[in-house]
Each structure stands twice: as C-alpha cells, then as structure tokens.
C-alpha cells in the first residue's frame, strides 16, 4: 500500500545550559560556541515532526493532525515549553541539552506513540535561523 508523509510544525521556548563543569571555560567555549554559558541561554525552537503511513481508505488521512498535535503537545511541549531544560526535565539532568541531544530526546518520546501503521520518520529541530538538526532514529 502506498504511504505518505505528513509533517506538522510546532514552536517551544526554552532555556538551556550548554556547559560541562568538568571542562575548562576555554574548552566549553570551544565545544559549545555561541551557546556556551555557565548560566545558560534560550531559544524559540522550531520543531517539525514527520510521520509516514498508508492513507486510510475511509478517512483519506494518514493521521488526524489533531491527534498528532495532542501527542506532540503532551510528550514535548507540555514538558519543554517555557522550561529550563537542564533544571526542569529528567532527560537533561546529566546530559547536555544541545540541539542535537534535544532532537534525539524528542524522537525517543514520540516513537511508537502513533496509532495503526503510522510511524515516526523524522524529527527536525531548528535552534535559530542558522542551525537545524534532523534525526531519523538511526544509531551507529
């Protein structure tokens, strides 16, 4: 059965701290660039969630985008929007919440949550106009 991809876009605003206490300030600045700060900074993150599946012959839909919105709201926005990712989320108590790591955590929160044969195929997360990260669930 032919499949189709559906993408829905979201936005959340959060603070994060890209800084490792076990590295020198110079090393932190080299690693994390503009985001390196012992006190953290923040962004309006743009999130694109893409799912793929067969088009239901009765409804003509891959997924009800209202349901897609409810799932992403519960799993991601309610947890991350207007929070400090290091201080307010379990996932980043010990991990550094880089844009890359946030995209992977969003994937892990969403994978397997969609009904029927609809599956998550891509998470795209933009930190600002000059950087975005894509994760499709691959591991090496």
């Amino acid at each position: 059965m032919p499949t189709l991809r559906v993408t829905k876009k979201f936005e959340f605003s959060a603070a994060h701290r890209a800084w490792r206490e076990d590295r020198s300030p110079e090393e932190n600045r080299r690693l994390f660039g503009r985001c390196a700060s012992p006190n953290g900074d923040g962004h309006n993150f743009l999130l694109e969630v893409t799912v793929e599946g067969p088009v239901d012959p009765e409804t003509g839909m891959v997924i009800d985008v209202g349901l897609l919105k409810r799932i992403v709201t519960a799993e991601v926005l309610d947890r991350f929007d207007h929070r400090h990712l290091n201080l307010d989320t379990e996932e980043f108590r010990t991990r550094v919440p880089t844009t890359e790591a946030i995209a992977v955590v969003i994937w892990e929160r969403l994978e397997g949550r969609f009904p029927g044969d609809c599956r998550l195929v891509r998470v795209r997360l933009a930190r600002d106009a000059s950087t975005y990260v894509e994760y499709e669930g691959r591991r090496a």
């Binding site: 106009a129 990260v133 090496a140």
Partner: protein
C-alpha cells in the same frame, strides 16, 4: 549505540557575478544567459545550507563535524565570498560561466576537503526561487 544525526548550518553572503561562458560567442552568451549576461554584472544575496552527518559525541551531545563545518564556512565561504565579485575575486571560477551550478559544485568541493566525508549535502539558494543542490562530489 549512539544516535546518528544530521546538522545543517545556514549562512548568507552577498556577491556580484555575471553569466558568461568563455566557450561561447558574445551572441550565443546573450542568447543563452539573457539578462544574466549583462556586461556589467549583477548580484545576489546567496543563502548556503551545508549538512554534516554522523554519530553524536556521548559526552558533549555534539556532532564533532559541525564545528569543523563552522570553521570552514567562516574561512572558505564568508571571508572569501561575502562582498566579493565572483568573476574577479574567485580564481576557481575564472574558467567557468559563473553559474550557481558551478558555484555550488565549488563550495561542495571546498567544504568536503575541509570537513571530510561527514559533509553530505550542499544547497545553494541563488534567490528564494532558484535552488541548486550538490552532494557526493558532483
């Protein structure tokens, strides 16, 4: 098992150019390139998207190739091309028609040399409506 991600950086640079092939007659150049063959040139605000891929460093949560890409974009793209006349200031383009295909291919080669095989895609937007994509040493 570490996650493999793609990181895309986007930069803009402003440059002048003219489309003119050294292998065509003046008449043929005017016919092929039209307004883009204006003898005194024209310019664009180019938008370049470069993508690197690989496993995340588990300690830093970063893709190491992304910092190599940042350095390469600053040195090889912004420092050389922003505010430049591509036909005059970029020797690698001297023998070309100055098309965005040729510029995209040059940028892909320069970035691949600096970043290595982690570079997977280079997309050059000449204008919001004209987009050129180079990947895999083309």
């Amino acid at each position: 098992m570490t996650p493999e991600v793609r990181v895309t950086r986007i930069v803009e640079f402003s440059a002048a150019h003219r489309l003119h092939s050294p292998r065509l007659s003046p008449e043929a150049n005017r016919s092929v390139f039209g307004k883009c063959n204006n003898p005194n040139g024209h310019g664009h605000t180019y938008r370049l998207e470069a993508t690197v891929a690989g496993p995340l460093d588990p300690e830093t949560g970063l893709l190491p190739a992304a910092s190599r890409l940042d350095a390469a974009l600053a040195e090889l793209v912004l420092a050389r091309l922003d505010g430049a006349n591509l036909d005059v200031d970029v020797p690698e383009l001297a023998d070309t028609s100055g098309t965005s295909e040729e510029l995209a291919r040059l940028l892909e080669r320069l970035l691949a040399e600096a970043v290595g095989p982690a570079l997977v895609r280079v997309v050059l937007h000449e204008t919001p409506n004209n987009v050129f994509e180079a990947s895999g040493g083309g």
